[in-house]
Amino acid sequence: MPLLVEKRQLVTPGDLIAEGEYRAGENTYERDGKIYASKIGAFDSRDNTVYVIALKGFYIPETDDLVIGKVIDISLSGWIVDINAPYNAMLFVSEVFERSFNPRKDELSEVFDIGGMLLAKVAAFDRTRDPVLTLRGPGLGKITHGRIVEMTPTKIPRLIGKKGSMIDLVKKGTGCQIVVGKNGLVLIRGKKPEDEASAIKIIRIIEEEAHTSGLTNRIGELIKKLKNEVGISVQDKGKTDQ
């Protein structure tokens, strides 16, 4: 039974990609024994599964995803957090207070106020209920300093690169700590504002040129050039968290 398009070929919604004994994977669907693409992207297959690597999309929460969110409201039992997804997330007070919580005494806005940024993990999400966040984990909690940039969630894998090659390059090159949220928000913390500015500049270029060839090499060159221009402090020792 044939595959009807080549591997890595660009497909658009409604394109017929396979017939017969294949399984419809990510961004595809099956109808009358035929498999069609449902998003714009690149076709690929593994074993018997055919799928499409989407080139444009939005963030849908998944359990254990590291996300960066903004507190947008406070309810009786916790905080409502915007995580750049179609659904607002909930952070319950029990995640924060180790002891029992007394709504009369404890003022939630003193812990996280509206507008505050959080680094959190998705504890549970199943589409019938809004996602629930947790702060239990190393490095999670309130974001007190640093800069946050937004990028298309589908391009996040490109920013990370093969086994983290791209993000390591940027971290080492700029001496900044960089935390990549799966939801398309990236937190950058540097020693100097200039370091942060160069990291942002590089990330913007990665986003814009995400689909051009030899990007990792070109970003390497760019970092060298920036170092000469503004003199970013080289910090190979500076361990970064991810």
Partner: protein
């Protein structure tokens, strides 16, 4: 049976804008020109100039409208006050509400709304300059914008009108032909299964004329469908080797 003396098809068999009876107006798509919207398309079809924007899936307000099993698709078709010679009132009119409804109903079966329950997907179609057939162009542009927004679709929806002018069946009527001609029949097509998503008609056609116009409109839709796909592919053209990197990051 034309009420006016004005000829809409000349002796050479050409129409008021110099087209042949079965010819489409020139079509142009520009994808992703609005930064804030999740997806956007600017489309020109002859003198029609239409801007569409997609927001969503996003949290739905007011909340009580939320559907527990699927996303709510909302659609707003609107003509700018300056889109026609005589000022068009920007207030919602019977026509705008009707067109919003039929466009929504034509687009909805193409969208996998069941994947995003309790959210809304908002479609905005703004006609900046109108020259007949703007509902069809609006639908064509909106389905392309949905794809640009990264919303999963079964297929693109495409629409085109056919009608009767000076006793002859023609494709893709412009404003003059729509107003002075005998019939105008917009049709929206779901190309993958050849299903008709919308079929309306003003004026009168005989049974044979109807069949001819129907087939001509489907033929026109298929031609526009090809252009839609080309426009999308041109926007997202990617070199193959880069995708390996893109995928490699998934493990990271």
């Amino acid at each position: 049976m034309s009420k006016t003396k004005e000829k809409l098809i000349n002796k050479k068999g050409l129409r008021v804008d110099g087209r042949k009876p079965e010819e489409l107006r020139p079509i142009k798509f520009e994808i992703g020109l609005l930064d804030k919207a999740n997806g956007s398309v600017y489309m020109e079809q002859g003198n029609n100039k239409i801007l569409t924007a997609i927001y969503g899936p996003r949290e739905l307000h007011p909340r009580h409208l939320a559907l527990q099993d699927r996303a709510l698709l909302r659609c707003r078709y609107h003509m700018a006050p300056f889109s026609v010679e005589e000022r068009k009132s920007p207030a919602p009119s019977r026509r705008k509400i009707e067109l919003s409804k039929v466009i929504r109903e034509a687009l909805e079966p193409a969208v996998f709304t069941e994947l995003y329950p309790r959210t809304s997907i908002d479609v905005f179609i703004e006609v900046l300059q109108s020259d007949g057939g703007s509902r069809c162009a609006g639908m064509t542009a909106a389905s392309l914008a949905l794809a640009d927004a990264g919303i999963p679709l079964r297929d693109l929806v495409v629409a085109c009108a056919a009608g009767k002018v000076d006793g002859q069946v023609v494709l893709d009527l412009n404003d003059a032909e729509d107003k002075l001609g005998e019939a105008d029949m917009p049709l929206a097509l779901f190309p993958q299964s050849d299903s008709v998503m919308l079929l309306q008609m003003d004026g009168t056609l005989s049974q044979e004329e109807f069949e001819k116009a129907f087939n001509l409109a489907i033929e026109g839709c298929k031609r526009i469908y090809g252009m839609q796909k080309e426009a999308l592919k041109a926007k997202y053209s990617v070199k193959k080797e880069d995708l390996e990197d893109l995928e490699g990051g998934k493990e990271g």
